[in-house]
Symmetry: C2
Subunit: 81 residues, 2 copies
């Protein structure tokens, strides 16, 4: 069995109102060192199989089709077999 | 300036209905190799400062106070200075 992680973030230039709200809240709590914050999604998967390259390819397809919205989001993935 | 990443996941035993829904959707698309999927949050931060240890401590506080809900969520963080 393989373990995989997917990181989904908004593309550069796409507004991230949730991130802006959290940034403002952090500053109001006194965390002035935070200069920018962007929120994304994170998924942990368990996959059957041990073919790292094949699993990465399939997981990339899953991201394109369902997990991410490739118009406005970038994704990054890691598979450990 | 330092860059940091925060990964927030539900603790073991906490239900993850969003993950279950995505898992079902993947299976209905034919991705039967996916055995489990859990959804979390991912944040990318830019922090002023170069004191890696100090920044990690402050970021841990931010997670405890605002970014994560420590009752039901675990968090993991990385700071690159």
């Amino acid at each position: 069995m393989a373990r995989a992680r997917v990181y989904i973030t908004y593309k550069e230039g796409i507004l991230d109102p949730q991130g802006k709200t959290i940034l403002r809240a952090l500053k109001s709590l006194g965390y002035d060192e935070v200069e920018n914050l962007r929120v994304g999604k994170y998924m942990e998967l368990e996959l059957a199989g041990t073919d790292k390259e094949g699993l990465e390819k399939r997981l990339g397809e899953m991201c394109e089709k369902l997990l991410a919205n490739p118009i406005i989001e970038d994704y990054d993935l890691e598979v450990d077999v």
